[in-house]
C-alpha cells in the first residue's frame, strides 16, 4: 500500500522545494553571478597602472550595468578568458572583449546581428586598426562597454548631442569647430534635431576616408549628401533656407563639372566650409560678402570685387531671379515658336516630296 503524505509533511515539502528553486534561480541571475567580480570591481578607486605609466580605472558601476543593453548577461560571457578567480584576483593581461563572440549571423544566444558589423570591416577605422594604429576605435570606443545602451533608449536630441561628443573624444578639434558652426549652434543652443551631426554626413559603420571615392563626403559626391537635407523643402524651408539651392548648384558650371567627375570643381564645402559652415551674415562665414573674393580666390586667382557683385545660386525658372528669369523664358518661347514653325514647314515639304516621288 502506498504511503500517502499527510498535509503537514506535504506543506514542508513544498516549502523546501520553493526554497531550493529560489536558490537555483537566484544563483543563475546575472547580478548574483557577478557578485564575485563586484567584490573588487565595485570599489570606485580600483585601477591599474599600464606599462606606459598611464592609469586605467577598473571600476564597474553595478547599477549602470543592470540598466544597460547587456543587463541579462554575466561578466564571464564577455570576459570569457577569466576562468579562475582566487582571493588574489584573476590572471593578468586579460584580452580585450570581442563583440563578435556573440554578434554574428544566426548566433544561438539571440544577439542582434545586422549589416553594420560587416560594414565596419570596410570602414576607415577598421583600416586603421589593421594598420596597427593604437588609437583606432573598436566597437566599445563608440558604443561604451559596461554602460552600453540601445540607441532607442535615448531621445533623438540626446542621441545626436551624444554622437558629437562620442566622435569628439578623438576628433576634438573638429568637435570644437563644429560646435560653433551653424549646424552645431542649432543643435546645442536651439535644440533643433533636424540638424546633421557627424554620422549624418560621414555615415556610421560605413565611414570612409574623405579621399575614398566611396565616401559620402568625397569631392564629387558630397553635394548629394548635403542635398539629402538641403534639397528637401520639408526640412530646410522650416528654417528659412531655400530648397532650390541644391538644384541651382547642380545646374551651375561647378555642379555640372562635379557630376562629370571633375574633382577640382567647387562643391558645397569649397565655398561654404566643412565643419565650420556659418550663416552668410556671420563675419567669419566664408560666404560673408567681405570674404567672397577670398573664397573664390582659392580656385580663381584673378577673382576681384566683381565676383561678389550678383548672386550665386540663381534659379532661372523662378520669377525672383529677375532679369535671368525673363531671359530664360524669352528664349524658351523663342525656341518653342521657331521650332514649331520650322517643323510645320518640314512636314509640309516632306509630305509633298514623298507624293512627288511616288507619282514618278
Amino acid at each position: 500500500m502506498a504511503r500517502v503524505l499527510n498535509i503537514k509533511q506535504f506543506v514542508i515539502f513544498i516549502i523546501l522545494f520553493i526554497i531550493c528553486f529560489l536558490f537555483t534561480v537566484s544563483d543563475s541571475l546575472p547580478q548574483v553571478q557577478n557578485q564575485k567580480c563586484m567584490i573588487c570591481h565595485g570599489k570606485p578607486d580600483i585601477s591599474k597602472k599600464r606599462e606606459d605609466g598611464s592609469v586605467k580605472m577598473l571600476f564597474v558601476n553595478d547599477s549602470m550595468l543592470l540598466h544597460s543593453a547587456h543587463s541579462k548577461i554575466t561578466c564571464y560571457d564577455c570576459h570569457n578568458d577569466i576562468v579562475e578567480i582566487t582571493a588574489l584576483g584573476h590572471k593578468k593581461n586579460i584580452n580585450k572583449v570581442q563583440c563578435t563572440r556573440c554578434h554574428y549571423d544566426n548566433n544561438p544566444v539571440g544577439a542582434p546581428e545586422t549589416e553594420k558589423y560587416r560594414e565596419f570591416q570596410e570602414s576607415v577605422h577598421q583600416q586603421e586598426l589593421n594598420n596597427g594604429n593604437p588609437k583606432a576605435p573598436v566597437c566599445q570606443t563608440c558604443h561604451g562597454s559596461h554602460d552600453i545602451l540601445h540607441a532607442k533608449t535615448l531621445s533623438s536630441l540626446e542621441l545626436k548631442k551624444k554622437i558629437t561628443q562620442t566622435c569628439g573624444q578623438c576628433h576634438l578639434d573638429i568637435y570644437t569647430t563644429y560646435k560653433s558652426s551653424v549646424h552645431g549652434k542649432a543643435i546645442f543652443d536651439k535644440n533643433i534635431t533636424d540638424v546633421p551631426v557627424c554620422t549624418d554626413c560621414h555615415g556610421e559603420h560605413t565611414i570612409k576616408k574623405t579621399d575614398d571615392p566611396e565616401s559620402s563626403v568625397f569631392k564629387t559626391t558630397v553635394y548629394s549628401t548635403c542635398g539629402s537635407c538641403h534639397a528637401s523643402e520639408k526640412i530646410v524651408e522650416k528654417y528659412g533656407i531655400k530648397a532650390d539651392k541644391f538644384k541651382t548648384y547642380e545646374s551651375s558650371y561647378h555642379g555640372i563639372a562635379v557630376q562629370f567627375g571633375e574633382k577640382t570643381a567647387a562643391n558645397c564645402a569649397s565655398c561654404h566650409g566643412i565643419h565650420d559652415i556659418r550663416p552668410q551674415n556671420d563675419p567669419a562665414s566664408l560666404i560673408h560678402p567681405d570674404n567672397i573674393v577670398k573664397t573664390c580666390g582659392k580656385c580663381h586667382p584673378d577673382a576681384n570685387a566683381n565676383y561678389a557683385k550678383g548672386r550665386i545660386h540663381i534659379n532661372p525658372h523662378s520669377e525672383e531671379s529677375g532679369s535671368i528669369y525673363y531671359i530664360s523664358s524669352t528664349f524658351k518661347w523663342l525656341t518653342i515658336i521657331t521650332l514649331t514653325l520650322l517643323a510645320i514647314h518640314v512636314i509640309l515639304d516632306l509630305v509633298r516630296k514623298l507624293k512627288h516621288k511616288r507619282a514618278k
Partner: protein, 307 residues
C-alpha cells in the same frame, strides 16, 4: 589502153571541178563570218564612242554654285559648330549617360572645355573672315546683296505654302538664294553674334582662357570689366541659344540639306560647289534664267566682235 587513159583524165577533171566548188562554198562561209566579225567590232567601237560622249555630255550640264572660298568657309563653320555642340551641349544634360560618355571621350570636363575654347577660336576666325569676305571680295559682296531679305521672300513663303496645301499649281521661281537659305544664313548671323558675345563675356570673367593647343592664356583685365551678375546673364543666354541653334541645325538644316527625299543622303553642293541643270531649273529658276540670258548676251557680243 587509151580507154584507160580517158577514164583517168575524166576522173581528174571531175575531182578538180568538185574541189573548186567545195572550196568556194567554204570560202564564202568564212567570208561571211569575217564580215560579221568586222561588223560587230565596228558596232562596239561606235557604242564606246557614244558612251564616252554620253559621259562627257552631263559635265557641261552642271553649274558652279559655290566657289572654293564659299565652300572653305562653310567647312570651317560646320567643323567648329559640330565640335562646339559636342563639347557644349552635354553640359545641359549632366545626368544623361550618353552625354557622360561623350565628355569622357573628350577626356573629362576640363579637357572638353579646352577643346570647346579651341573651336570657339575657329568660330570667331570664320566670323571675322566672313565679314571681310562679304565686303572685300567681289563674289562675297554679290552674294551678300543676294542674301539680303526682300519683300519677294515673304510672298515666296506664302506661295510655297499654297503649293504645299495644293492651292497652287505653278512653281515658285527662286533667285540665287531661296527664303530657306536666307533664313539659314541670317540664323547663323544671329547665332554667331549671340554665342561669341556671351562666350567672350564668360572667358573674360574667368580671367583665364585655355584653348587646347595654345595653353593657358591669362586675361587678367577680364574680371575688372565683368561682374558676376553680367556673367550669370551671359551664361543663361549662351546655354539657351546653344540649345535653340542645335535644334534648328538638326531639325531644319539637316532636313533641307540631307534628309529630305529629294537630297537624301546629302546634297554634294557644299563639297564640289556644283549643281545640275535639272536642280538649278527647279530650285533657282530665276538664277538659271539670269545665267542663260548672260550667256546669250556674251555669245551675241562675241559674234559681233568676230564680224
Amino acid at each position: 589502153m587509151t580507154d584507160n587513159n580517158n577514164i583517168q583524165n575524166k576522173i581528174e577533171k571531175e575531182v578538180e571541178k568538185r574541189l573548186k566548188e567545195k572550196l568556194s562554198a567554204i570560202e564564202s562561209q568564212i567570208r561571211n563570218e569575217v564580215k560579221e566579225e568586222i561588223e560587230r567590232e565596228i558596232k562596239t567601237e561606235e557604242a564606246a564612242i557614244e558612251k564616252t560622249a554620253a559621259e562627257e555630255e552631263p559635265k557641261e550640264k552642271y553649274f558652279i554654285r559655290f566657289g572654293w572660298n564659299f565652300r572653305f568657309q562653310h567647312i570651317v563653320l560646320l567643323t567648329s559648330t559640330i565640335m562646339l555642340i559636342l563639347t557644349g551641349i552635354p553640359l545641359k544634360f549632366p545626368k544623361n549617360s550618353i552625354m557622360q560618355v561623350i565628355i569622357e571621350w573628350f577626356g573629362g570636363p576640363a579637357s572638353a572645355r579646352s577643346i570647346h575654347h579651341f573651336f570657339a577660336l575657329g568660330l570667331i576666325f570664320i566670323g571675322i573672315y566672313h565679314l571681310i569676305y562679304s565686303f572685300w571680295s567681289r563674289h562675297g559682296r554679290k552674294d551678300f546683296y543676294e542674301l539680303l531679305p526682300s519683300l519677294k521672300d515673304f510672298s515666296d513663303v506664302f506661295n510655297q505654302i499654297k503649293i504645299y496645301l495644293g492651292l497652287r499649281k505653278e512653281k515658285v521661281k527662286y533667285g540665287r538664294f531661296s527664303y530657306v537659305e536666307k533664313f539659314d544664313y541670317w540664323a547663323v548671323y544671329w547665332g554667331l553674334i549671340m554665342m561669341i558675345g556671351t562666350g567672350m563675356i564668360m572667358w573674360l570673367f574667368q580671367g583665364r582662357f585655355d584653348p587646347v593647343i595654345f595653353g593657358e592664356i591669362s586675361l587678367k583685365f577680364g574680371p575688372d570689366m565683368i561682374t558676376n551678375y553680367v556673367h550669370a546673364i551671359a551664361r543663361e543666354m549662351h546655354s539657351d541659344e546653344a540649345l535653340l541653334a542645335t535644334l534648328v541645325i538638326i531639325g531644319w538644316h539637316f532636313y533641307n540639306g540631307h534628309l529630305n527625299p529629294h537630297k537624301f543622303p546629302m546634297s554634294k553642293v557644299w563639297l564640289n560647289g556644283k549643281i545640275s541643270e535639272k536642280d538649278i531649273k527647279e530650285e533657282h529658276a530665276l538664277e538659271y534664267e539670269k545665267i542663260m540670258r548672260k550667256r546669250k548676251e556674251k555669245e551675241a557680243n562675241n559674234k559681233g566682235d568676230n564680224n
